[in-house]
């Protein structure tokens, strides 16, 4: 099957885009299942090279899967058990810290807006600083009342389903070959090789994509930690890791990371507007590096999608399914594209269709071979 030389036709492309949209719409209804599965896939592709190394050193596939998933599960549980009392004992202090950083962020924005008002009369006439002060004060006063309860409830509701992550990745590590055999059993003989090729192609693309995402997150995190350290930020590792992970959520993530860094900049470097500009330039530069160097190098090749199509589909995905849509659009589009290509190849291959029809007839005849009525 020459995958590279055969690109889908216009009708197939319409089907691919429509299917992707329908899937995004349906999947956002079962996010409690989709998100753990998505994370489990990331974990699976992260652990798979280690599993292969264990198998290579003489261990069985099952032992490797059990050991790696078990270690990950135990580490996660221990981290949670360690963090839980720490969170409870520091929660009051964190509330104060959060208020301090909010105030720092506000004073930074206030000084920028005042500066803006001095430069431009239309901003002065619109009383931008005053209206912003009212909004921020209202947000500070009502933040806990409006959002904190919902936030805690959401985290509590998501925790049980997130516990599925190591379990699903364990079965993916252990049963991936059996799943492929199971898939093969459902396919008629005539299409068997093509469908098996497809399943390997999907696995290859998903592996490149998810491993690419992990590499990208690591690169972003390292660059951010180094930059924050050079700028003299407090806790550069914590801030770099948070912003690096967030930056993997398309469009929204880098913005949230930037806001976090600006809050720290406004609080720990009060009155230093230049530092805020440095942070903005840093995030802009990392975004450009990601979009034009790292993503095409480590992620783009995996899905083989045109950049314009990727951007358009990200907007469509965001509209249909919000932030989860932004995360899911590209992998779903990549998989549906491979499915569409293979279906087009199979359905337009008259020889394969004829062989399948012939096999069906042969099987019907074979079923009644010895069923001849006596005279």
């Amino acid at each position: 099957m020459e995958k590279d030389s055969s690109s889908p036709g216009p009708i197939t492309w319409c089907g691919i885009i429509a299917t992707t949209c329908v899937l995004l719409f349906l999947l956002q209804k079962i996010l409690w299942l989709v998100v753990p599965f998505f994370l489990a896939l990331v974990l699976y592709y992260l652990l798979d090279p280690f599993a292969k190394k264990m198998v290579l050193s003489g261990h069985t596939h099952n032992f490797a899967a059990t050991t790696l998933s078990g270690i990950f599960f135990l580490v996660t549980i221990n981290v949670l058990l360690f963090l839980y009392p720490m969170v409870l004992s520091h929660i009051d202090g964190w509330q104060d810290t959060m208020s301090r950083y909010m105030a720092g962020g506000y004073s930074l924005v206030d000084s920028i807006v005042k500066n803006f008002e001095q430069q431009f009369s239309f901003a002065r006439n619109a009383h931008m600083a005053d209206s912003m002060r009212v909004s921020v004060t209202s947000l500070q006063d009502n933040f806990a009342q409006r959002y904190l309860g919902t936030l805690i409830f959401t985290i509590a509701a998501w925790l049980p389903s997130l516990l599925l992550v190591p379990l699903v990745s364990y079965f993916l590590l252990k049963e991936s070959n059996h799943f492929r055999q199971f898939l093969g059993q459902a396919v008629p003989n005539a299409f068997f090789e093509k469908i098996l090729f497809l399943s390997h192609a999907i696995d290859r693309a998903a592996r490149l994509y998810f491993v690419g995402l992990i590499k990208l997150a690591a690169l972003d995190t390292l660059m951010l930690i180094a930059s924050f350290w050079m700028l003299g930020f407090p806790a550069p590792i914590f801030l770099g890791v948070a912003a690096g992970i967030l930056s993997q959520v398309p469009y929204v993530g880098p913005l949230i990371g930037l806001v976090l860094a600006l809050l720290v900049s406004g609080t720990d470097f009060p009155g230093d507007v230049g530092m805020a500009y440095n942070v903005a330039i840093l995030f802009g530069a990392i975004r450009l590096l990601d979009d034009f160097v790292f993503i095409p190098a480590v992620v783009g090749k995996s899905l083989n999608l045109h950049p314009l199509l990727s951007i358009l589909m990200l907007f469509v995905g965001g509209t249909i399914a919000g932030v989860s849509g932004l995360m899911l659009t590209l992998p779903i589009l990549g998989i549906v594209m491979l499915l569409g290509e293979t279906l087009e190849i199979i359905l337009t291959d008259r020889r394969l269709m004829a062989r399948h029809a012939y096999a069906v007839q042969l099987r019907k005849l074979a079923a009644k071979r010895d069923l001849i009525l006596p005279n």
Partner: protein, 155 residues
């Protein structure tokens, strides 16, 4: 789907793997590794396994029944060979994705094990000993066929 969740039974064709010349040097445990990668397919008499000119992605092991290797669409006057159970065919697909050199049809109802090239390549990464034993047998088999072809050509 429930079938996937049930405990897997060892296939009755597992013992047949030992009869395949390509797996002659493998231990019982190594045969188990191969068995996990194999796809079992059932073909009825006269069903086409693959066509001449089709791109090859897998090697086939005959667990039961017979297959006919012939020129495309000429099972009677274009017959090349008939393989009994325990034999294998389509082996060049393990090495590259060149087109199939002949058509293969089921001469009887048969059960065939299929090893996909991608799975064999994974085997090279994870089970080097198993893969090298298979590769050695495959090289011997191809060498034998080459000598036979030269012998036929010279004579």
């Amino acid at each position: 789907m429930f079938k996937l969740l049930l405990k897997k039974n060892v296939s009755p064709h597992f013992s047949k793997l030992r009869e395949v010349p390509l797996f002659a040097d493998l231990t019982h445990r190594e045969l188990g590794i191969i068995h996990e990668l194999l796809h079992e397919r059932e073909y009825v008499k006269d069903e086409i396994v693959f066509d001449e000119g089709e791109e090859g992605q897998a090697i086939y092991f005959l667990f039961s029944g017979k297959v006919l290797i012939c020129r495309q669409g000429r099972p009677v006057d274009g017959a090349i060979a008939e393989l009994p159970n325990g034999q294998f065919f389509g082996e060049l697909a393990l090495l590259d994705n060149s087109p199939r050199s002949a058509q293969v049809r089921a001469a009887e109802d048969c059960t065939i094990g299929v090893l996909f090239r991608e799975d064999f390549l994974t085997l090279l990464e994870t089970h080097v000993t198993v893969a090298s034993k298979i590769s050695l047998q495959l090289s011997r088999h191809i060498g034998k066929r080459l000598r036979e072809a030269i012998h036929r050509y010279v004579l």
